[in-house]
Amino acid sequence: MGLKPSDFRVPQVYADWCPGCGDFGIMNGLQMAFAELGLEPHQIVMVSGIGCSGKEPHNVKAYGVHTLHGRTLPFAMGIKVANPRLEVLAIGGDGDGLGIGAGHFVNAGRKNLDMTYIIHNNGVYGLTKGQASPTLRLGIQTKALPKPNINEAVNSIGLAIISGFTFAARSYAYDVRHLKETIKKAIQHKGLAFIDCLQPCPTYNNITTKDWYSGEDRKDPTTGKPQSRLYKLEETGFDPNVRDWSEDFQKKIAAMDKAREWGDAIPIGVFYKNELEPTFQERISKRIPFYVDRPPAKQKLGDENGFSKVDLTKFMKGLKTS
């Protein structure tokens, strides 16, 4: 026991992200979080969509399901419902989750499955060479865009909260320690957890770069040190935890207010957390008390000779004509 982050590496796969890509940081954060939580590779399923982020599971030793563009959450839902004992993580890009998959994003909130969803947020569609993603702000012109972006950005944290995600956080791909801690919190959260991971694209996003986040352009005149644009919510005394339903609305409002911040002060950390809301698993268990003990994936369908054991008498009762 006691696996190390390196035990979650996949040596036979070359991670083909661009040099300096934030995806490496997320990969490291995942491997560290899994090791620190004492998880074993076979207990974890990482489900991803299309784009550079979609390759994340291939670089982590765990069950990996690299799916279709935008469909990360439906695949993850099917896996989690069939076997709720699995630790399921959905991984996707901003275009994947908030563009083509936005309908799934919103509806996932309604189910509150006990799993984690991490969005790689870099403002561009990298793998198709830099088009604007749904998190790129209005008027911004990253280098591959022929004209400034004509659409306003979606507020991913805000959308998660109003959609029913019961945990919403933001982290940063280059602050691996913060990211690792955030991933751990998300996995440990009882319910659907969302992490908006700021992940600079070194090739196509020349605006919100690593240097921009770390504030290389605004050095303290006295010390000469860059002043980071990111600040940690947990260091400001911000309390995202809903301990009683009576404070839920205020906590949501406070989180939404924080989610509006951008520019020279961008909050990272946990915005909202509520474990009072029943998870999908708990909702099913109310109808089917043995659900977790004998979930769909674990049911024995045939007897020792393979004959189906199911008794259809109940179904046939209402249909019999004698």
Binding site: Q12, H42, Q43, V45, P57, H58, K61, A62, Y63, G64, V65, H66, T67, L68, R71, L73, P74, A76, M77, G78, I79, K80, V81, A82, N83, R85, L86, G103, H104, V106, N107, R287, I288, F290, Y291, R294, P295, P296, A297, K298, Q299, K300, L301, G302, D303, N305, G306, F307, S308, K309, V310, D311, L312, K314, F315, M316, L319, K320, T321, S322
Partner: protein, 633 residues
């Protein structure tokens, strides 16, 4: 036949009627027709009843219970001589062309009819026309009967019991048929078994109407329904119900769906009965209503990868949205089951009507080339067994299986001897466990002789592997290498050879009638019943003709089909579509083309009457190469 505005209890009435006949040992075949509408538009249920097994509908109506004027108008020409029409006495002065729910294109037909037959403008005029053709018209004063029933029950407001008009028509109908009223009463009680008070009220209404008809209509009506003794248990069920039960039998434990006609009833029925008795520990099926069909197909794939037998149910528009997910499942060799109820298409088409125009779509949907199986059931009993079998196929060959059905089967109801399901065997194919994997290097997509690689479900210790929608190597990581690509494509595609080799003959083709004859019908899906009944009739008249029902429509059992069709004089393709899709596929794959087509695309299923007429015309050289059927309101 019972008909009326949607929401006026037509279905309930027909089900009670069918049940009551079933209790009397009679076989029933019911066809349900309805508009895409919640309340107000015309719907009807056509029940055919006989002491012998019935496989399809016919054109004739012996007794029409019209809940409203529109029903009488729409079906008046279907009622046979010496048949009857039951109608409320208040409807008589209704002007036919003023009925607001009749569409203009139908009114135009009515105008022509009135002119041609010199029929007047009121319903009364129309019924008089029917009387001239020896049809009995039974006027029932529903409001008067309801107020009498209200008195009996101590209910003042008649509006509270007008819902029971449907039960009054059942009472009148059974009195006319001189059928045992106790069986009708039993059917009413059974239908409302969870609401004893409602059951009592309906039984009172039933008997009141029965008494009224016995007293007032004496011996005008000559048709009879007589109960017979039976010594077997029987079921009266719809295709939707049969599919749901078949899935449970086949081990389906996750069903996903997005609401769509005519598929949704199946999922609701499953959810209502989701806790399953298994003889040992109870099991359950999880039914998930997703946000769209894209989520439905992909979450079913996810569940299948995790080791549950999983399915999704839909019809054409939903399946269109599933195309990309289907391609992923084909590429990743997922044992995914899609239950596909065809309906009138394209686009929204005829959402509540029948069609068989999606065969080629089911075959080709999804980008790229990947193996799939398409199994088409032809009747409700096949719906049941096939719904279980498809899970074995999906897991043994690790590919998506499309169970292709249609609205006719989904919504028709039929009597069968009780299903003997105890012999159904679960075959999970090559499935490795933690123990099998100990100390070994596992490769999910290992190249094998058959193309089937032993499967491991997500979460199994020692079995870590990856899936990618990209082309992948044996372990599941992305690979764009040409040699690996070639081997992977061939690995996937050659599984179809195994399918062709291993699927039992009766799941590929079924033969009926005289298949050695020079005349042969080819068809698939719901026309089956009407074809078999037509063949029996033709045989009695001395014609020789056979029928092959294609069940495994993909991969098509080419050699077997070729062998059967070679040298035939008349090959008659019967399908509910415009272009004769199966006929075309047979031509493509065997080089033998059907020389006659009997086609229907009105959205109403084929009846025995019209199929028989078309086949007879073909056999006697009186038909064109393309007979288009039209029957049904």
């Amino acid at each position: 036949m019972a008909g009326g505005a949607q929401g006026s209890g037509v279905d309930t009435a027909a089900n009670i009627f069918g049940k009551a006949c079933g209790y009397g040992g009679l076989y029933v075949f019911g066809r349900r027709e309805y508009h895409s509408n919640i309340k107000g538009l015309h719907s009807y249920f056509h029940l055919r009843i006989s002491p012998k097994e019935i496989l399809a509908n016919v054109n004739d109506v012996d007794l029409l219970a019209a809940f409203d004027a529109e029903t009488a108008v729409r079906h008046i020409n279907e009622v046979v001589s010496e048949g009857g029409i039951i109608i409320g006495s208040r409807q008589m002065n209704t002007k036919v062309l003023d009925i607001p729910t009749l569409p203009p294109e139908l009114k135009a037909e009515h105008v022509r009819f009135m002119k041609e037959k010199t029929v007047g403008e009121t319903l009364n005029d129309w019924l008089n026309y029917a009387k001239q053709k020896n049809v009995h018209v039974f006027h029932v004063p529903y409001m008067k009967l309801l107020s009498q029933i209200g008195e009996k029950l101590g209910i003042q407001k008649i509006s509270k019991i007008t819902r029971m008009i449907n039960v009054l028509t059942i009472g009148v109908s059974f009195a006319l048929f001189k059928y045992d009223r106790n069986l009708a009463e039993k059917a009413v009680r059974d239908t409302f078994s969870e609401k004893p008070r409602i059951a009592d009220m309906n039984v009172t209404a039933l008997n009141h109407a029965y008494d009224y008809a016995e007293e007032n209509f004496k011996n005008d009506f000559k048709r009879r329904l007589e109960k017979t003794a039976v010594n077997e248990e029987r079921l009266f069920l719809t295709g939707n119900q049969a599919v749901a039960m078949g899935k449970v039998l086949g081990g389906c434990r996750v069903q996903t769906y997005y609401p769509i006609t005519p598929a949704a009833d199946e999922s609701e029925y499953l959810e209502a009965n989701q806790i399953l008795k298994t003889g040992g520990e109870d099991e359950a099926i999880i039914v998930i209503q997703t946000e769209d069909e894209i989520a439905a197909v992909n979450s079913a794939s996810g569940a299948a990868l995790a080791g549950a037998r999983a399915a999704t149910s839909t019809s054409g528009p939903g399946f269109s949205l599933m195309a990309e997910g289907l391609s992923w499942a084909g590429n990743s060799e997922v044992p995914l089951v899609i239950t596909y109820y065809q309906r009138g298409a394209p686009a929204t088409g005829l959402p509540t009507r029948n069609g068989q125009a999606d065969l080629r779509f089911a075959m080709h949907a999804g980008h790229g080339e990947f193996p799939r199986i398409i199994l088409a059931s032809g009747d409700i009993q096949e719906c049941f067994y096939d719904s279980a079998k498809v899970f074995n196929l999906a897991e043994k060959y690790q590919m998506p299986v499309i169970h292709l059905l249609d609205k006719a089967m989904a919504n028709c109801s039929q009597t069968y001897p009780i299903f003997d399901y105890g012999k159904f065997k679960i075959e999970r194919g090559e499935l490795l466990t933690e123990k099998d994997l100990e100390g070994k290097e596992y490769q999910r997509f290992r190249f094998t002789e058959t193309g089937v690689s032993p499967r491991v479900v997500l979460g199994t210790k020692n079995g870590i592997h990856w899936y990618a929608g990209d082309e992948h190597n044996e372990i599941g990581h992305i690979s764009e290498e040409p040699r690996n690509r070639r081997l992977m494509v061939e690995k996937r595609m050659k599984k179809l050879e195994l399918v062709e080799k291993e699927v039992p003959f009766e799941d590929k083709l079924k033969f009926y009638g005289d298949t050695d004859s020079e005349n042969i019908v080819v068809s698939w899906g719901s026309p089956k019943g009407a074809i078999i009944e037509s063949l029996e009739k033709l045989k009695q008249e001395g014609f020789s003709i056979g029928f092959i029902q294609v069940r495994l429509v993909h991969p098509l059992p080419t050699e077997e089909v070729k062998k059967t069709l070679e040298g035939k004089k008349r090959i008659i393709d019967v399908e509910d579509n415009f272009s004769g899709q199966l006929g075309g596929i047979i031509k493509e794959q065997t080089g033998i083309a059907p020389n006659y087509h009997v086609l229907k695309y009105t959205g109403r299923p084929m009846t025995t009457t019209e199929v028989y007429e078309a086949l007879k015309a073909i056999l006697t050289e009186k038909a064109s190469e393309r007979e288009v059927l039209m029957f049904g309101a």
